[in-house]
């Protein structure tokens, strides 16, 4: 048998070596290990959330957001109260105008009478 023929034979043998392969099985109690992993993942999720929230940067940022929200609410309230008082004064001025107009109309009406 030549060298090439020998190599070809070895290649064929290697390719056919897994022809009658049987399925490999995992170690026993796989389900127990999977369930343990699932529990760890749930635990890890909440632990992760707690660790994330308790980070100083996250705490400071959270406080800043709350402060900013409070300040913006205060400012909005202030500006809306100013707006409402301005509106009120404008309304009162316009009311006065209406009165004056009405007086003028009455005067005119009186004047127009023969």
């Amino acid at each position: 048998m030549t060298k090439d023929e020998n190599i070809d034979r070895q290649i064929e043998e290697a390719l056919n070596s897994i022809g009658e392969i049987k399925r490999a099985s995992p170690k026993p109690y796989l389900l127990t290990r999977i369930n343990a992993r699932l529990n760890i993942q749930v635990k890890n999720f909440w632990e992760g959330v707690a660790v994330f929230i308790s980070r100083p940067a996250v705490l400071v940022l959270g406080l800043c957001i709350i402060l900013a929200a409070n300040i913006s609410v205060l400012l909005l309230n202030k500006s809306s109260s100013i707006n409402s008082s301005t509106e009120h004064s404008i309304n009162s001025i316009s009311d006065e105008d209406e009165y004056s107009t009405s007086f003028a109309t009455i005067d005119n009406f009186e004047n127009s009478e023969p």
């Binding site: 390719l15 070596s17 897994i18 392969i21 049987k22 490999a24 099985s25 995992p26 796989l30 389900l31």
Partner: protein
């Protein structure tokens, strides 16, 4: 299908039955791809955790086993990528003189399902399998170690029957080339 519906409703008994039914299929596929028993155990667990978490997304368009094979293959290939990345990182660390703590992947791999008289040849074949393109390797592995037909492989790989035929033919050519190089090296020694 009833079992899958129960699984989707979160019944623990259904999950137990699914693990019992499919654990060999998942483990054998993972082991044939990653060629390491410890990694295969770990990835098999990950696959079932993924099944538990995302079974509600399974719409039944394909067979459940097809869906499970897809998860298994994706997880196995992801794990390989991570291992290669770690290896590269360890190499760079070595270059900078930092202490290497990476656990080396064993070079020798013996699939427990191979007949004793074929162990040596199978080891050489598995080594060659690691060196061919992923899609060829997956098609070949599913065909040889799981005994799936081309139609089933096509469904898993989301491709056509003829594409699988072509992949298997190319896989055989690639493997022959790799094995020839290996045996030539061996005979030169």
């Amino acid at each position: 299908m009833e079992l899958i519906k129960q699984l989707q409703q979160g019944e623990p008994e259904a999950f137990r039955r699914v693990v019992d039914l499919y654990q060999d299929m998942v483990y054998n596929t993972v082991l044939s791809i990653v060629q390491n028993e410890a990694d295969a155990e770990d990835i098999t667990q990950e696959v079932f955790v993924q099944v538990h978490q995302s079974v509600k997304l399974f719409k039944g368009d394909s067979k459940f086993s097809t869906w499970l094979y897809r998860i298994t293959i994706t997880k196995s290939l992801d794990s390989e990528k991570k291992r290669k990345r770690k290896k590269r990182f360890a190499f760079v660390q070595n270059l900078f003189g930092e202490k290497e703590e990476e656990q080396h992947h064993p070079v020798e791999f013996n699939h427990p399902g191979v007949l004793l008289e074929n162990k040596e040849k199978a080891d050489e074949l598995f080594k060659a399998l690691q060196q061919i393109p992923n899609n060829q390797r997956i098609a070949f592995t599913l065909s040889k170690t799981e005994g799936l037909n081309n139609q089933e492989i096509a469904a898993i790989m989301n491709t056509s029957f003829y594409a699988v035929e072509s992949l298997l033919a190319r896989a055989k050519i690639s493997l022959k080339k790799k094995l020839k190089d290996y045996y030539l090296q061996q005979s030169a020694k």
